[in-house]
Subunit: 195 residues, 2 copies
Amino acid sequence: MLDTRTLRRDATRARILEAAWTLAKRDGLAALSLREVAAAVGMRAPSLYTYFDSKNDLYDAMYAETAAMVATVVRDGAVGSTPKDRLRRGMHAFVVFFAENPARYQLLVERPVPGFVPRPESFAVSRETFASTIATDLAALGITGERATNMWRAITTGLLTQQIANDPGGDGWTSLVDDAFDMYMTFHERKGKKR
Amino acid sequence: MLDTRTLRRDATRARILEAAWTLAKRDGLAALSLREVAAAVGMRAPSLYTYFDSKNDLYDAMYAETAAMVATVVRDGAVGSTPKDRLRRGMHAFVVFFAENPARYQLLVERPVPGFVPRPESFAVSRETFASTIATDLAALGITGERATNMWRAITTGLLTQQIANDPGGDGWTSLVDDAFDMYMTFHERKGKKR
DNA sequence: GTCTATATCCAGATAGAC
DNA sequence: GTCTATCTGGATATAGAC
């Protein structure tokens, strides 16, 4: 697994992915062209097929890479001595990361590429990250159930969808992340205590 | 303005728009092709240029049409004797309309078409609808300022982004609209009263 | 107002030489 | 592993006949 051939191959794959993201940022995700990606790494288009089976396979690698990055960003960001601290910082890290990487947000959350659907394995990473970090800490506060976790997801992605579409590079929505957190907690903690 | 030539022309434009939406729903917004749109209305592609200056002009008409529909849907839906009643019903109408028309949501809110930016006049309709309905009733409750209105927008679009991406045709998120409304109101009314 | 023909260009993907 | 050459098909848009 760690022979030089595999290492080189992975390094080239990483270079291709990086070039793909640069072009996706510039032209839009759906406008990606294999010819341009190849040119950006000093290759011709057919050579990419050594590294990716198809264009959708490249999109899937971009998706999987981003899912893995989010897992790291949230895990590293969601630190603190209480579930509430961790949740607040986790939400913050999630929003900041995607506000800085709008194309990654679109690919992961908004599905703007006609014909591309992530492979179930790639999709599962996102689910797993959420379950093992956010959902766990929410449960520690007595906030459980699909409705409550879906609301969490709606709030975080709502801030990001608006930020990216209507104020790119600004902070008109990301600056609301603490308010959003407090709003969510006030409502759901209270509901939890009612029982 | 109301001569038969204008009427016929507008009717044909409407038929083209309808065909464009049918294809956008089936294949994705960014995959629209003028050839296919033309074929769907019994024409060849060049004939469309009698009705629209370019493909982006067609997208802009789709955008403007949707913005107008949202204006009607929200105005008709946001009825009630109190601002709070109207707001709740307005949020409901907005979410239901877009949950039933995901492609329209994507075009209006998510901007998934590379190279397409709505004309300022088309964009202004959305702003105006929000200002004259939602923002007015929020202000009547003492909820003012960009932060509060941005939060409203984030919540509604958050529900829709998730609903459309992760549960198309379902109600895992749209069924949260009343909770979301209560959550928003509890938080912002209280903050208003603090002053 | 619609058509055919065409300009111009680009796409993803494969075959097979090196 | 990378290339050239090519297949096959598509795109938007314009010119000009009818």
